[in-house]
């Protein structure tokens, strides 16, 4: 029987799957090794049923599923439950930073921006699938507080709405965290 574990369709499939997993920040050597073993078993079983090696290889990769589907399922399972916890963490962090920023004696915007950036980066690193959500949950409170205060005081102008630009810091942080996670996964 041919050595199916070195076949071109299998290598192609494993490459595609690794790329899809890496894109989602969940590339794991254990899963890749299990996949290789599974495909090898499936090809051998196909050949025992009388299939030509090339047909058995095609059937094996087809039955394993589209790399994108398999990777999406794997990522969904990996992050199941994690996102709810991260969202709570992001909301608590965001409220704490907003509270700090609203203190009467607080006038260091640089530290506030740094806190927004770094906390969002940490969450983007842990949960790379929804960086925009972490950024919003962390960063929305300061502009919201400022806008509501101006609305209540009757001093809302177009300039007030520009406070939303503060969201650029957590957005940048969260996407940087996501990028770092993907770099780690690729390494």
């Amino acid at each position: 029987m041919n050595a199916p574990d070195s076949s071109q369709p299998v290598e192609q499939y494993l490459g595609d799957l690794a790329r899809e997993l890496r894109k989602r920040g969940v590339l794991e050597s254990r899963f890749m090794e299990e996949t290789r073993g599974h495909l090898t078993d499936a090809i051998e079983a196909g050949q025992r049923r009388g299939l030509a090696p090339s047909v058995a290889e095609q059937e094996a990769v087809q039955r394993f599923g589209e790399p994108r589907t398999v990777a999406a399922k794997f990522a969904a399972e990996k992050f199941r439950g994690l996102h709810a916890g991260l969202l709570v963490g992001a909301l608590v962090l965001g409220l704490a930073i907003a509270r700090m920023d609203a203190l009467p004696h607080w006038d260091d915007s640089g530290i506030t921006a740094g806190c927004l950036l770094l906390s969002a980066a940490a969450l983007g690193l842990i949960g790379p699938r929804k960086p925009w959500l972490w950024a919003l949950a962390i960063g929305i409170w300061i502009p919201l507080h400022l806008i509501v205060s101006h609305l209540a005081a009757g001093s809302f102008t177009l300039e007030t709405a520009s406070y939303l630009a503060i969201l650029a810091f957590p957005m940048a942080g969260a996407y940087a965290g996501m990028g770092l996670r993907k770099l780690f996964a690729a390494a």
């Binding site: 299990e34 073993g37 599974h38 090898t40 078993d41 079983a45 589907t69 398999v70 399972e77």
Partner: protein
Amino acid sequence: MTGEILKGHLELLLLAALSAQPVHGYGIVEILRRRSGGTFELPEGTLYPALHRMEKSGLVVSRWTDDTGRRRRVYELTAEGQRSLKRREADWQQFAHAVNGIVEGIA
């Protein structure tokens, strides 16, 4: 039968496939295909995320073996997995009985 229909029952099927002995991933697929008479066809790669989740929740454990000269990861039910299988089997029997009663009533 598609993966979508199987979705809600996948854990029960995997627990049942592992009930007799430790089995590796492809072995599980073969058991499901054989016992279902070829009815259950789902993307085989989607079994692994479910197995990993079940391992995380303590229903199965896994280890690498090379009994046949090639490294394979085999999965095995834990005591909690055995208990979960019994519970889910009972729930399934009750559910199937109820559905049958309704469907046979239509005929």
